[in-house]
Symmetry: C2
Subunit: 335 residues, 2 copies
Amino acid sequence: MLIAVDAMGGDFAPVEPCNGAIMACRENPDLSVALVGDSNKILPIIDKYGADVRSRLSVVHADEVIDCNDSPSLSIRRKKNSSLVIGFGMVRSGEADGIVSSGSTGAIAAGGVLLLGRIPGIDRPGLGAVLPVLNRPTLLMDVGGTVRCKPINLFQFAQMGSIYMKLFKGVENPSVRLLCNGEEITKGDEVISAARELIKASDLNYQGYAEGKDLPHGISDVVICDGFSGNILIKFGEGLGELLKDQFKEEYTHHLLPKIGLMFMWPAMKRVLGRFDWEKVGGSPLLGVNGSVIKVHGRSKRSAISFAILSAANFVEHHGVERIREAIAVEDEVL
Amino acid sequence: MLIAVDAMGGDFAPVEPCNGAIMACRENPDLSVALVGDSNKILPIIDKYGADVRSRLSVVHADEVIDCNDSPSLSIRRKKNSSLVIGFGMVRSGEADGIVSSGSTGAIAAGGVLLLGRIPGIDRPGLGAVLPVLNRPTLLMDVGGTVRCKPINLFQFAQMGSIYMKLFKGVENPSVRLLCNGEEITKGDEVISAARELIKASDLNYQGYAEGKDLPHGISDVVICDGFSGNILIKFGEGLGELLKDQFKEEYTHHLLPKIGLMFMWPAMKRVLGRFDWEKVGGSPLLGVNGSVIKVHGRSKRSAISFAILSAANFVEHHGVERIREAIAVEDEVL
């Protein structure tokens, strides 16, 4: 099993992707990782590790990097020597089994479609985000792959999301909800209503609409929305988290009482925050393309990247692409 | 100045709306409030108060209540004796200057359009929510009045939102941003692009797109989006807040250390949370209808309702409806 890792993607490249690869190899003895990027920068990071891990790391040199300012599809077409394009090429040729990148979301989605291609019958791939919410992880999908959706897109996200949560998170008969501006059937718009009917008519475990306030409480295994909604939502959550952290940090730094208080509260805070550890959810799968593709947040450190690599390997081991292909083929026969 | 208060709306009706009215009257000596609802329930609550406040409270009896399960426009048309419909009728006839309700959002929006009517030139009214974020209050608009929008709707929300923040929050030349799934001009969809061009061509202080993560940091005075996005976003924030509160409460209740820690941290927590006090923002204005209409959250207590009543009075004192009418008329001439 070989997973290609875009060693140049994200805010802490190449150090964190390289160390993430090392962590993942230690965790899974059957795993090998190809680090794609500037070999002059990558080799010094990995060469100090013992043969048990080092022997399962290879380096594939790439001269270029796609950054957030590049147009996603143009950069995929033009930057042939970028770490991301070379990594996707390895998956396409079968050399690698999957790819993990903490680079630009748009470029990863475009790369998945243009370089790996969609699974037959899939209209649009979907980028899921596993939210570390209460009670159970929730797959929110899409979070930026497909900005505006047709009913068939939302339906296929529900199919693919259910398969993902079943195979890779071990959820039996995953519950599915559609994100909506209210729980009543009259809410939403025509696209959401039509998607609801498609999902209800299928064998998916549809439970109704989910409101924004339900998401943090883990109301469902899978929550479906268009990429616009999913994107603003997860970024809003991220912004709120940062803000609260900054505010309390400011207090600890300038006042004695909260500093003492924090010492007493630390175990409780660790317990609470440990329940919502987004690093452990294993990144965001791009579902619906011919390959195991996991995107990690640009600010991810080694631990989050390691979980994402293990997640990509897990997807391959469980034949994720084949399972989605089968589900879509059956659906096509029924429709 | 007479503001009608729907005394039967919200989770704590009629006690909290009545007490909110009393608080508002104490705050503003020129204010009178008509409490609309079941007089048998309202009178015992208010009769114990001294003449200075009691003399400025009147009770308008209403037999019916519109609840969240009622269809918004049907209930407005059929429940003629409901507190909400009677309250709107008082504004329409000129008997009251404005109305405050913590009832169903849909019914308030429908009541505004059907009973007060839109300001000429306004295609769709918008429900704003003043977010108590860092640095400055941010008006997010729409949060559920108009689920899906045309470019003209988003543009008019920007106009009305700017007027609201200027007149009622004293913001000079309010900055305006469009909520989007990225800051680059290529993000969003055709509706957002077209709205962006309309706003840029106007005299509004347009600053670009805002991402979800920017919102909590107070990136702009006004942030425009469709009602679907605004609704899921504020409810998600609400759900996250509740969840964190519940989680820490659980810790305090069952463990000694965090209880001690909390004692030390209490002043810091009060300082931090005080910066994000949504009760003080004065409710959500329904802009674009012929009247001063403020919606308050269903779970609002007296303090939040009092601020909303003062906000409604403030809108009337500043001739909010006329200012919006003038702005739209000028725009119509230019277009």
